[in-house]
């Protein structure tokens, strides 16, 4: 099977995004379906931005907040602040903030998200929020609304569904700024595991090089 240059493609996508935004930016990555590769895109984009010298924070939402049908009940305390305890990444890797994991609330208001993003902008050039699915997930939608731009991950080659139109409609109705859609190759999604525990970095492994996890992913795809 021919090798696919996912790193190169991510670089091209990252360059276009850099050109589309100005200054410190918060970008939310979401998708209509969980399998569309939003986590892969968020992690890969954060990795790529780090590789070109940007300070990047990758915000990941915990398992309890990512499933639309099993989304936890929103906290009655709408003004609850988003925690800012960030796990620092290794050299060349983005810092990581986990939301919704054990010990962390699962639901936040728009205002809380906006306040948190304001603080993120002070420190990071780019904050990449892995909002997974926003449909049926109020926190994800709040994060998307508060972000400077929204990227929609879409698995290339899958059939179009009504949920895709619903996502576009919801984002438009919520006033989110959608930068565009990034199509993700199915093989890249299958080879990538977004991490099932907070202690794990977005991309498996702990190589010093920022591009190494993605390169490893590419090699897995090629060998598969």
């Amino acid at each position: 099977m021919k090798d696919i240059d996912f790193i190169g493609r991510l670089g091209v996508t990252r360059a276009r995004i850099e050109a589309a935004v100005s200054g410190a930016s918060v970008l939310a990555v979401t998708s209509a379906l969980r399998t569309d590769g939003s986590t892969f895109l968020a992690a890969g984009l954060a990795q790529s931005l780090c590789s070109v010298g940007h300070e990047v924070l990758l915000v990941r939402m915990g398992e309890g907040s990512t499933t639309d049908r099993t989304a936890p009940v929103r906290s009655r305390k709408a003004d609850r602040e988003v925690p800012v305890s960030v796990r620092e990444g290794k050299s060349g890797e983005p810092d990581t903030l986990y939301l919704g994991w054990s010990g962390s609330p699962a639901s936040y208001s728009l205002e809380a998200a906006q306040a948190a993003f304001a603080r993120f902008r002070e420190r990071y050039a780019f904050t990449i929020v892995d909002a997974t699915v926003v449909l049926g997930n109020g926190t994800a939608l709040s994060l998307a609304r508060a972000a400077d731009g929204v990227l929609i991950a879409l698995e290339k080659g899958r059939s179009g569904r009504e949920v895709d139109r619903e996502l576009a409609k919801v984002l438009r109705a919520a006033g989110a700024t959608t930068l565009g859609i990034v199509t993700i190759d199915r093989r890249a999604i299958k080879s990538f595991s977004g991490g099932s525990e907070p202690a794990t970095l977005p991309l498996r492994g702990s190589r010093a090089s920022a591009e190494e996890p993605l390169a490893r992913t590419a090699s897995v795809v090629s060998s598969g």
């Binding site: 996508t13 276009r16 179009g160 895709d164 139109r165 959608t178 199509t183 890249a188």
Partner: protein
Amino acid sequence: MKLRSFGAVLWQRRFLIAGVIVVALLCVPILTKMIAPTYEATSEVSYVGSGSAGNTISLSNAILPTSDLPQLVLSYAVIADAKQALNLHDSVDELRLTTSVKASPHSNVVPIVVRMKDRSNAVLFANALADSTVHHYKEIAARQYDDVISHIRAQLDGERNEIRTIDASLQQAVQLDSFVGSSDALDTISKHLDDLEVQRGTAYATYVADRAAASAQASGTSDTDRAGLASAIHEQVLTNDLTYQAVKTAQSKDVAELAATRAGYTDSFPGLPGLVAKVKIETKAADQAAQQAISEHPGNSATYAQVVLNEHNAAALASGDKARVTALDHDISIARSRLSDLPHVGVRADLLRLQRDSASAAYTALDTRYQQTLADRAQAAALGAAFVLDHATMAAPRIPELAIATVLAALILLLAIGVAYAAEALDPRIRTAADVEDLYGMPRIGSV
């Protein structure tokens, strides 16, 4: 750009295309076996007409123009004849659809092409069509003479009837008077009359002589002759009369016995008187028998019969002469009557004779023309312009196998491409930027 898009679709569906091609190639042998090939056989009919260059045989007027030959080949009669010859079950219309004929104005060779599923039938039917076409063509060639022949024949019949009518009239006239049948009736009748008069003179003279002879035979001559002949006649009569001879024999016997008795005995012999009396009686009976024989049976005498016969012959000869004279008188009378009637009867006979001569001349002329037309018809039928130049000997598949293979390959390729495009059109999956933008109404900014 479109070419790239075309190529992209083909590449995207390459496995489907390959699958379709493989399946199609697997099906090709089955299809070729299921599809019965059509075989084509060609026979050729050549046409010798006014337009034939270099032919030694050329008719001044073509029976049919070459361009009409296809219509003749495809005519119901020609196809029906060929069908009947081969005992085919197809209808004439169906057979017509299997046949094609193309006549070229620059060629006298007309190919008859037959396409059939059955190879042998294609050959046979092509040949049967060629034969039937030639046959019908000759019929048509001769048919133009048939009308003339029929017309001449009708005229001949008319002339023949007229001649018969004239002959009947002439015969009737001849029956009325045999001499009117002759052109020199006057001379003939005159000569005939002269002959009759000469014959009458001779006959009359003969009659007079014979009548005189008969009279002499019956009267003067007979008295003397009969007196001289009486004793001979009586003797012949008595000799030929059996009764007289029987009586005479008995009487002679008894006379002899009496003489013998007298010689041996005296007159006192007691048996003598009885014997004398018996002899007397027998003598008397013999005399009576002699008289009776002479008076009743004179014909027993040959002399008497000859005399009577001579008399009758003389009388008959005279009567015959008289009858002949009378008949000649009658003929002379008729001849004279005809001679007197000859002026008006002869004119009518002459007129009939002239009419008959005229009708006979017309009949002869028509008959000559009839024979000439028959000869022309025979010539037209023999040289009747069309003949089978070449019979079909084999039937080849209408479409060469290479062409079939090429067409099948092209069809398979087109099928594969069509299937690929159909699959592409029916595929709901998101593949291109356009698909993404159509679905979300937003631009695609990247692809990973």
